[in-house]
């Protein structure tokens, strides 16, 4: 199919260059799994093309009614997951502080005892028969999301002799372009495990680490029911389209 591009065609804007100082390097020796999985060559850098400026979209209609309620989405009828009841909520913004509406947010976590429902997981803390440990939602028109869950427990992992992960929830976020695709982890305010975790410390910038720590939000805590944690996330910003490169014929 040939596409005719008239002058002043609407453009798909590019993203701000990724600031790698905000992210972990590929090779971070404190986290041993990176030894054989980190590329050693330089990345190929170029201004994102349409291939990276576009990305998939997911409608609100794909969601089941309980998809953002981990307390009950795997529970037997009438039962609930065991653990400290919390709601996690916040906005997805871009680097221009604009809300990112209608994008898919997925999350997964261990149960209150630090046990994941995964066949390769052998930690002795028991599974909770009423807890699956995952959910999803789509941000609203204001880029806002929320889900209900139980606070996950810390768990040991085979890295150093005595390494334990802080309590955390994994997040997967889509933006409007594939170049915004992001996976990260949310930690909890005041957790003394955060500062000593080799995975947290793959990030060199303390201020960047701090932005992965959800704040206890007493204002949105529901009395006699559940506590709220506030966690806002930021995706890459998009440039203003002043002038794109001239196309042939312009």
């Amino acid at each position: 199919m040939s596409v005719t591009l008239p002058n002043r065609v609407e453009e798909t804007p590019a993203f701000f260059a990724r600031d790698h100082a905000q992210h972990p390097a590929a090779f971070t020796p404190g986290y041993k799994s990176t030894f054989l999985r980190a590329p050693k060559q330089a990345l190929l850098s170029f201004d994102a093309t349409l291939s990276e400026r576009t990305g998939p979209a997911f409608g609100h209609n794909m969601l089941g009614e309980l998809d953002n309620d981990l307390i009950v989405n795997y529970a037997r009828p009438g039962e609930q997951a065991i653990g400290p009841r919390i709601v996690v909520h916040g906005h997805i913004l871009d680097e221009n502080a604009r809300p990112v509406p209608n994008v898919l947010v997925e999350f997964w976590q261990a149960n209150a005892g630090g046990r994941y429902r995964h066949k390769k997981e052998g930690y002795q803390a028991p599974l909770d028969p009423n807890f699956g440990g995952f959910g999803r939602t789509v941000t609203d028109d204001n880029g806002y999301y929320w889900f209900r869950t139980v606070q996950p427990g810390p768990y040991p992992w085979p890295n150093g002799v005595n390494d334990w992960r802080p309590a955390h929830i994994h997040f997967s976020i889509f933006g409007t372009g594939f170049a915004q695709r992001l996976i990260s982890q949310m930690y909890f305010e005041g957790d003394p495990m955060v500062g000593i975790c080799p995975i947290v410390n793959t990030i060199g910038d303390k201020a960047a680490i701090d932005r992965l720590v959800a704040r206890l939000d007493m204002n949105n805590t529901i009395p006699m029911d559940l506590r709220a944690y506030r966690f806002d996330m930021v995706l890459r910003g998009q440039r203003s389209t002043f002038f794109e490169n001239k196309r042939e014929g312009n």
Partner: protein, 206 residues
Amino acid sequence: MRTLPTYLTELKETPSQTAGPYVHIGMTPNWSGITGVYPEDLGLEVIKDGVKGDRITVNLRIIDGGANPVTDCVVEIWQADAGGIYNSPAEHRGPADPNFVGWGRFPADEDGRLSFETVKPGAVPGPSGTMMAPHITLWIVARGINIGLMTRMYFSDEEAANARDGVLAKARMIGRDKTMIGRREGDTVTFDIYLQGENETAFLDV
């Protein structure tokens, strides 16, 4: 129209963290045996019945720096339809084939292999009126990968277009262009991704 102070309008991207070894719980729960929550895993189908174009099966293999298969990774793919149009709200050139999804998500098996059915993408405009050679964008996450690795798979049966492609030209300058070309034989394309080492795949910062 900036009326807010910059500290409110200039934020920093949320830092990446590894997807970890249990990424399947959240991204492919049915595949990992946790059924009954989602009707099916997302991203199983890149195309639907009736899609237009040249149908292919892509077979990928992911290998680490010790020549071990990466058995716990998840790969997402993103590509244009056979006419070179993306099925995305951010696509301004017109609608894609209605039977084309364009995005897929696949967990590796115990040999570090995964495969998917799709159509060969059409060429997509690059910078300054150039055309990029047909390619599929791949994004790999796993334990030990701190930030998702992005690369492209080009096609061995597109020699002329590949020779003109700007991204492959960048890869050629550092001797890595061949690491981005999938080998087409009949309706099958085979592509091995090496995270590290002698055959290391060229990864992108875009």
